[in-house]
Amino acid sequence: VSVTEAPKHDSNAPVDARRRSRKPESGSSARLPRGPFRPEFWRSPLRGPWLTSFLGMLLIPAITVIALTGFVDHWAHYPELGGNGTVGPSGDIPVVFHFPASWPSWSYAVTQGTHVTLGLVVLPLVLAKLWSVMPKLFQRPAVTSVAGALERISLLGLVASVLVEFATGILAMDDWTPWSFNFNTVHYYGAWMFGTLFVLHACIKLPVVRRAYRERGVLKPLTQSVAQTKPEPPDDGGLAPINPAAPTISRRGLLAMLGGASLTVFAVQAGESIGGPFRRLALLAPRGRVFGTGPNDFPVTHTAAWAGVTSAMTGADWRLTVVGARTVSLSRQQLLAMVQSARTLTITCTDGWSTTQRWTGVQLAALARLVDAPEGAILRAVSLQPRQAPEAFSRSLYGDTRSLLALRVNDVDISLDHGYPARVILPNVPGTLNTKWVSELRFEAV
C-alpha cells in the first residue's frame, strides 16, 4: 500500500452536501474572517449537543459534591469565631453545619479528602467540557440579542472562575502559591462566583440537554464503535460540525480515555488522604511519601523550621499559661502528672492529606475546669510560632472528651516538628487549627 493512495482522514475529507445546505446562513460564511470564526473550521465529529450535555451531566453531581465539601471545610474552620485562617464572618452567609460530636473523628478527613481528590479527578472532564464548546467562543455574530449578551457575559465569568478555582486549588495543594492575594478569600468567594454561574448555566441549558437526550438517547451514542460513530446533525447552538472529519475515536473511546485519566489521578493521589499502606501508592501526591516507620515519622504541613520555632524556645524553661477565671502556669512535668487520656485522632490538612495517630495528653476540658473557665467561653490557643494569630475554639469543640492538649504520640514525646512540647488536637477540624508549640490557652468569656 503506497502512502499517497491513503484516504486522508483530515484535510480533504469529503463534505456532506446535505450538511452544508442545512447549515443556517450558509451564504454568510464567506464574509467571516478566516480560521476559527468560520463554522467549517471546527471538524471534530464528536462535538455536538449530546457530548456536551453528557459531560455537563457528569459534572453536575461532581461539582455539587466539591462545592458542598468546600463549604463544610469553610465551616470546619469556625469562621464565626473570627479568622481561624479563613475568611472573616462579615458579609458571609451564616454557618449552617458543624460536625456533631457523635461523628467519628475522621469525618473531616473524608469530606476534605473528597474535596481535593474529587477536584483533581474531575479536571479531565472540566477540560473536555471546555473543549467540546470551543466553537461557541468564535461564533459570529457574537451577540444577536440582549439575552445572548447576558449569556456571553455569564459564560466569560463561568470559564474564568472555573479555571481560577481549579488552578488556585491545585497549586495550593502542590505547596506552590505564586500569587500575592489571599488564597482563602479568592478560593472561597471564587466558589460563590463559580457556583452561581454554574447553577445559572445548568438551568439555562437544561432544555438543550433534554432535547439532546430525547433525540440521541442518554447512553445510545456510547454503544457506537469508531466505525459507527456519526457526527451529530448541525444544531442551532453551533456545537456539531458542519464539515466533520472522519472519526478517529468513538465517543465511548473519548470517555474511556477521560475516565482512565481520572482513575490514574485517583491512583497517584488518594493514598495521601486514605493513609496507612495506601500512602506509598500516592506516587505524585505532595504528602504521599513515607520517610520512616518511627512513632514521629508521619508527615507535617509546616515544619518547626518553617514556622520559626527552635528547640531553644521549647526547652526546660517552657511553661504553659492557662488563663480562665484564674491563671495557672504549668511545666511539662506538671502536665504529664495530670490525668492523661489517649485518643486515636486524625489530622487532616486543608490540602487534603491525612494521618491518623494515637495521641496522649490532657483533656482540654480538664484544663478549662482547672482555671474555672467561664461558662461557654471561647478557647484561644496561642503558639510560640511568631506572627501566628491564635486559633479559636468553641465550647462544644474543646468540651469534646476527644479534644486534647497532646504531649505524646504513639507512646513517645511528640517531636518538635509535630508541636513539642505540647499541641492541641481535636476531632474534625482542619489541620491548621490543631495548634502546635502551644504556649498559652486562654478561655475567654464571650
Partner: protein, 170 residues
C-alpha cells in the same frame, strides 16, 4: 393582550422574562462575590489571573493540544501505513499521552521543582522522586497501551488468517 406583551418582550430581549430574572439574580450574587474577591488582593493581579487564565486556556492551551494532535495524526498517517489498518494505533498513543500530560498539569510544581525551597522548608523533605515517578508512570502507561495494541494486532491478524483459510482447515 398578555400574550402580545410576552411576545414583544421576547422579540426585544431575545428570551423569556424568566431568563432575564435568573440572570439578574445570578449577576447580583456574582457582583457580591467579585467585590469580596477583589478585597482579597491586588485588583490588577486578580484581573490578570481571571482574564489571563481564560486567554491562556482558550487561545493558547486548546490550540496547542489540538494542533499537536493534528500534527501527530498527519505524521502517523504518513509514516505508518499500518496505522490505517483495522487496528489504528492513534488512540494507543493519545491515551497515555493525555494521561501523562494531565498528571504534569496537576503536579508540575513538584515534578519540575518549581517550589523546591518553599516545599523543603514546609514539609522538611526534599523534592526528589517526583520527576522520576512521573517518568515511570508515563513509561508504564505507554508500555501498557503498547501491549494492548500488540494484542489487538495479533488478534486482528489471527482473524484475517482465519477468514482467508477455507472452511474445515485449521
Amino acid at each position: 393582550m398578555r400574550r402580545g406583551l410576552r411576545l414583544g418582550f421576547r422579540r426585544r430581549y431575545g428570551a423569556s422574562p424568566l431568563h432575564l430574572l435568573v440572570h439578574l439574580v445570578g449577576f447580583a450574587i456574582v457582583a457580591f462575590a467579585l467585590d469580596r474577591i477583589f478585597s482579597g488582593g491586588d485588583v490588577k493581579e486578580l484581573l490578570l489571573w481571571y482574564l489571563g487564565f481564560v486567554i491562556a486556556h482558550d487561545l493558547l492551551f486548546v490550540p496547542a493540544y489540538t494542533g499537536l494532535d493534528r500534527l501527530f495524526r498527519a505524521t502517523i498517517t504518513r509514516l505508518l501505513p499500518s496505522a490505517r489498518s483495522d487496528v489504528p494505533v492513534i488512540n494507543h498513543v493519545r491515551a497515555p499521552a493525555l494521561i501523562s500530560a494531565l498528571l504534569l498539569i496537576i503536579y508540575f510544581p513538584l515534578i519540575l521543582r518549581r517550589n523546591e525551597g518553599w516545599y523543603v522548608e514546609l514539609s522538611g523533605h526534599p523534592l526528589t522522586h517526583y520527576l522520576r515517578n512521573w517518568l515511570l508512570i508515563t513509561a508504564v502507561l505507554f508500555l501498557g497501551s503498547g501491549l494492548i495494541y500488540a494484542g489487538r494486532v495479533v488478534r486482528a491478524r489471527a482473524r484475517r488468517v482465519a477468514d482467508i483459510r477455507p472452511e474445515g482447515v485449521s
